[in-house]
Symmetry: C2
Subunit: 409 residues, 2 copies
């Protein structure tokens, strides 16, 4: 169960709602259909589970191919006793690869994930793995799974080498793909209950389509209306294991909304992630006293774990801290969240609060579709193409030219 | 060796330089003296090394008491074969504590770090540890070390319980304290060469005081002059192991500069950290096409590890990525850094580049003092008290009141 605080004044959201419905019905944007359509993936996943043996799963992919999976994996891990480790190879940082290599071996299953099949980091790391582990693709094709677009170069490569493939629907962009095979295949193979993630997403989506979650539209309208003044959106999560979730949010928000819009105007909001209560001792000062250009969304989990209590110890000279004695860490952490929320609100800084009753597959699924819908809504209001990323092409061209001309570092 | 790109037009920096010298000579701000004075810590650290046995080190502390140590620990770990693990207990997140508890046992040495001694998270976690491990302070005081201000409540507690203490100089604030006992004691006990960190910091400081590193002053002047337009400062590090360093930078920047200044104006710049090349697939789009309110400092390491090469494999249908064949991952990563730098520069986005020849103790020490001096310089120009944090007090008061009145979550 997820609750959303209602901090917005009522506005007319019907036009925005209709625009989202139109976008969905056009079938140009496909992520709306994933909570339902991804159910079809399970038959093949089950077959792989039965026919392949592996101890851990190596995900070779970056950006939209890894961030969502990582977010869910980090959030759910503490709830599970038994699961297969996911090892993410995203960055061609040689020190990082070196540190991770010892865990990667003959008992690893490799998932190579790239929508286009042209991601230079992914293909280069893939080649490094083939060589470092001395893998012969002709013999060892069943150690790999490829997740890509149908008829992409990576799909053709997979066909030629008899590697199993899962497809990403063509109308689903990388950063909106976590509920497609991109996230569902690795997480289900690792032993997480991904059906409940899809159920959580679907239930929220259904309520949204029945106009029962209109706070989302009101929030988008508030952000868009104030976007010339409030340019920084902070997601302040009170749970260490939701840090990766904030990185998924940052990609979604930054890459979807940071655009030259259809009127030729530079728009977009800077996403920032904070972890409570740690960042109360860091970034909070700037929010309180710095420029009034920020909004803060708090994300609180009511029941993380109630078992660890602060004992009733009276330590000499440290009596100042006795007020929390006898309470659980859970109560301390969540009360810190509430106190920080109130201190910002009393300073007229725009805040809202999302409250999960607990970390669960359903709640994570709901959060994902919530942020995707919020991003789409804001994209419509900012008049951008939410689903492309033309700004990153120049760097790719310059990079390729450096190699071709030998002007290397 | 660290190189700094010179992207600033020459400006008159003498007034700013003199203001920093005055601040230093006033002795009101003490971090300037740490690279020299912290040498005195080693005798006592050596004694502890000889007289105590421990397998890992648990750091109980948050904010300025942990971020700097974590930054150095993460950066240096991949260079060392043998070191003692540092376990950080910063967040009263019960799930996180639960996950970390199994590693904490009779062979752990505990460092309780708090400047004031009143940090509610730190003291509460300390109490939890005392109970969970069934520790009797009367018998087990040599399993603890306390790092705090002289005559703080925590110092008095340590005295009463015969716990060894190290002091933080009174004129050194938490977020400027990493080169004091706060960082040096745990890192040296863990087996890292912290003398070289101090040497690296001292050498840069000496050159700075001899006006040989004036690019730093020019950069501060550029940031201050443009602070009404450029409100977001991005640190884009091309090394996965420098991620924790960016969190230290974020605290330093946000908490020092985010203030109501002496003219009553809200000032401060939003720090954001990105990891290359991962975040080229995330935040980069927003920098390229979004609002022109950002500057980007790139941090590149010339030699991370040159041994892992991308093999000369020609994979069918993936020939598009062959341009990197035969090169090291190191070359790929750093060329991505250069290409991204150039793509932003050609779009007239303010950029500069800090280049380390390698990750080393000296270079990390230099980076730390560089950022501290830059922050102090900018603090003078923005006319703030760089060293306090009045904005976080309200939340603490509200928290305490919630407990006292029983209005808890």
């Amino acid at each position: 169960m997820v609750k959303y605080s209602k901090e917005w004044k009522e506005v007319d959201y019907n036009t925005l709602f209709q625009a989202l419905i139109d976008e969905m019905r056009s079938q140009k944007v496909g992520y709306y259909y994933l909570p339902k359509s991804s159910i079809k993936l399970f038959e093949k996943i089950e077959y792989i589970k039965k026919t392949r043996e592996f101890k851990n799963i190596v995900i070779i992919g970056v950006g939209g191919s890894s961030l969502g999976t990582k977010a869910i994996y980090s959030a759910l891990k503490p709830l599970y006793q038994n699961y297969k480790e996911l090892i993410f190879l995203e960055n061609p940082d040689p020190l990082e690869i070196k540190v991770k290599l010892p865990k990667i071996n003959k008992e690893s299953l490799f998932l190579v994930i790239s929508k286009s099949g042209n991601t230079i980091e992914t293909i280069s790391i893939f080649k490094v793995i083939l060589e470092q582990l001395n893998i012969d693709l002709k013999k060892d094709s069943d150690r790999f799974i490829i997740i890509t677009d149908k008829e992409s170069s990576l799909d053709k490569f997979a066909n030629k080498n008899k590697i199993s493939t899962f497809f990403i629907p063509k109308n689903v962009g990388g950063r909106f793909s976590v509920l497609s095979a991109v996230g569902i295949v690795p997480l289900e193979l690792a032993g997480f209950n991904t059906k409940n993630i899809l159920i959580g997403a679907k239930e929220f989506l259904d309520r949204f389509l029945n106009k029962k979650e209109t706070h989302l539209l009101e929030k988008a309208i508030f952000f868009a209306k104030n976007s010339s003044q409030i340019k920084v959106n902070i997601l302040f999560v009170y749970s260490s294991f939701l840090e990766e979730f904030t990185k998924w949010y940052i990609q979604l928000w930054a890459e979807s909304l940071g655009k030259i819009n259809k009127d030729g105007k530079r728009v977009g909001l800077s996403p920032i992630s904070l972890i409570g209560s740690i960042d109360q001792h860091s970034f909070l000062q700037l929010i309180m006293e710095g420029p009034r250009d920020k909004s803060v969304t708090f994300l609180k989990v009511e029941n993380l774990d109630d078992k660890i209590k602060i004992p009733n110890l009276n330590l000499d000279f440290l009596e100042n801290s006795n007020f929390a004695n006898g309470y659980s860490l859970n109560t301390l952490l969540n009360s810190e969240c509430d106190a920080t929320f109130e201190s910002l609100k009393s300073n007229n800084i725009p805040v809202d609060m999302i409250t999960l009753d607990k970390i669960s597959e359903e709640n994570i699924g709901e959060l994902i579709i919530y942020y995707e819908l919020l991003t789409s809504a804001l994209g419509i209001l900012l008049n951008v193409n939410t689903y492309n990323q033309p700004g990153v092409e120049l760097g790719k061209k310059i990079l390729k030219n450096k190699f071709i001309k030998g002007q290397l570092n």
